[in-house]
Amino acid sequence: MRRIALAAIPSILCGILHAQTPVASPLNPAIGFAQRFSIGVESGYSHNSLITNISGLTNTVYQSVGGYTLAIPMAYSLRSWVSLYSNFNLTQKNYQYTRTGSYSGPYEQYRNAYLQLPLAGRFSWGGKLKAFLDVGVYGGYWLTGRVRGAELNVLDFSLTSSNVYATNVYNFNEKYQFSSTRDNRFEFGWLVGLGAAYEFRPGVQGFVEGRNTQALSDQQKDYMTHQVPRYNQTYTVTAGCLISLRSIAALRRKKSGT
């Protein structure tokens, strides 16, 4: 429900801007910065997987877990069909360590928030309704984390009526404690996205996008021999809007009556 509400924010804002923004002239190479540069809001759903190999562990898998993403998108138009695009974002990259089969029950769900700054080229095709492709790179910082779940507790026999280890679980939900030896909090990688944008008025557009963000840096520091790396792979589906600075200025002028 919270994710749906977050996703609705840009749509509402876009609607307000659409209703109030005056018509501006179409973008072309001759126009100035205020008309080339757009800024807006964006939010949506994230779905992260930890790409690694734990085949040596008994009945254990990593599973993908959903989350949210919030962003401030920015675009600088170079041509009518290509622009530089970025969206400063806070994205959850969640995953779950899960025991399966006869050991099922215990799990650890990690909910990690990353602050990210991508830089991409946005290639568009179409008229008022455009398809676009984003291709670029990003850098991020692992801001915070939380882990919740259930694990075996071999030193508390009050948890179940029997003393069977496999059913003797304790529940936890706590802040993730970073390890300065193990955790690499800086992340970089590449991204690619496909989406569609609709230009309500010149300088004002709403868009939806599906994006894959693939880390190229290990989630761990290089702290041991034979380290098996871990990479976040995050799919996001977002909705947002962009408005040019010129349109924002026009809106202000209209409000102040000048």
Partner: protein, 403 residues
């Protein structure tokens, strides 16, 4: 214009194609393989070394506190194992020596290597203690097997209250003696000695255990304190902690936290799990002193029980620092850590190691160091020759001076 649109289309499609190909190719390219230890080849000593090193790297639960530089061990011993080119008894002995050397300083005091072909066993903790004993005689003085019957039962326990028994019980594939002694001292202290945590196997020892718990449940007014004696106790079933201490408390007591492995990385640990002793049916919330006597040969559950007693507001630990093996043990698959085996017919090793690490409520790990007593009183050969039990003397004195 048409040419320009065509160029745009081809750029767009090129970028799209590269992107899609990258997506498909990238997903599974990161996958170095660290296998389960028993699944490695044992075709050469180097293969067994590789399996052992990786098995330890993944399954050992003390890497966050262990001083051993495991990467350095890899760099040092990999070329040495490579020189052992064919399986024979001389190379077996050399390989055993290398494995012994590279594990000599591991803090896990349960840790034991069993070389499957020769049957030789190596316990780094035992070797360290024997080395200390050479420098300081009596430092690991071992109470004689007859001590509790000949000295404690004969000299200290009120004869009319004395109940004791011995069973032969199964322990790690062999039979050991399980002895229980109970009774009162000066009609004012309730005493219990047991040689291992094996309450569920009690037959001849059952009367002594039942007598102790019955007395505890209907504690005579004259009893001023409880003494639990776990000296030279090698440990056993974790559930016995609740059976014993859970009969003396009115509410749950957290005495520490354990953590286990939760991943393939050396420092992948699960969140801390509280170690709790809980009141049992018929428990009496005691306010009188509860003394536990333990020594350097109190191991595993005996030490964990000492830690639990130290956590009681009326609990006191008297004796010497315990062995230092505090981690619980269970089959590897439960916690993705602990015991494992490598190799097989050519050269195999069974690795006995803790499945989880225990820390006290203040975050201290006593693994490899032992639980320190509240009141340090050493037992010596000289005292034994005089039929004196210095540690029990101190416990009696403590109870008499702490009403």
């Amino acid at each position: 214009m048409t040419r320009f649109l065509k160029r745009r289309s081809s750029i767009f499609l090129s970028v799209l194609a590269i992107t899609v190909v990258s997506l498909v190719v990238s997903c599974d390219k990161f996958a170095p393989d660290v296998k389960a230890p028993p699944t490695y080849s044992d075709a050469t000593y180097s293969d067994v070394f590789e399996a052992f090193w990786n098995g330890m790297n993944t399954n050992y639960v003390f890497w966050d506190i262990d001083p051993t530089n495991w990467d350095q061990e890899y760099a040092t011993y990999k070329p040495l194992f490579a020189t052992l080119t064919s399986f024979n008894s001389a190379n077996d002995a050399t390989a055993e020596k290398y494995f012994t050397q590279m594990t000599a300083n591991l803090v896990d005091s349960h840790y034991t290597l069993t070389f499957q072909k020769s049957g030789n066993q190596v316990s780094p903790a035992l070797n360290r203690k024997l080395a200390i004993d050479k420098l300081y005689p009596d430092s690991i003085y071992q109470l004689p097997a007859t001590f509790f019957k000949n000295v404690v039962a004969s000299k200290y326990i009120d004869p009319s209250s004395l109940i004791m028994g011995t069973d032969s019980i199964a322990n790690a594939g062999s039979k050991i003696a399980f002895t229980v002694i109970t009774g009162t001292i000066h009609n004012s202290i309730l005493y219990l000695y047991f040689s291992s945590f094996s309450f569920s196997q009690a037959v001849h020892t059952a009367p002594a255990l039942n007598s102790f718990f019955n007395t505890l449940a209907n504690l005579p007014a004259g009893i001023k304190g409880i003494v639990i004696d776990v000296r030279s106790n090698g440990g056993g079933d974790t559930v016995d902690l609740d059976e014993l201490i859970g009969k003396m408390i009115g509410s749950p007591v957290t005495y520490g936290y354990s953590h286990a492995k939760s991943g393939i990385g050396r420092l992948d640990f699960s969140p801390a799990a509280p170690a709790i002793v809980s009141p049992q049916s018929g428990a009496v919330a005691l306010t009188i002193p509860i003394i536990i006597i333990a020594d350097h040969l109190s191991i595993s559950m005996a030490e964990i029980t000492a830690l639990a007693v130290k956590s009681l507001p009326n609990g006191t630990f008297i004796g010497t620092t315990t062995w230092g093996a505090n981690g619980p043990l269970l089959p590897n698959a439960y916690l993705n850590g602990g015991q494992f085996s490598v190799g097989s017919t050519n050269f195999g090793i069974s690795v006995y190691t803790s499945s989880a690490a225990l820390k006290s409520t203040d975050g201290q790990s006593y693994e490899g160091r032992g639980i320190p007593p509240d009141i340090w009183v050493p037992e010596t050969g000289a005292a034994y020759s005089q039929n004196d039990d210095l540690q029990l003397d101190k416990a009696i004195d403590y109870i008499n001076t702490h009403p």
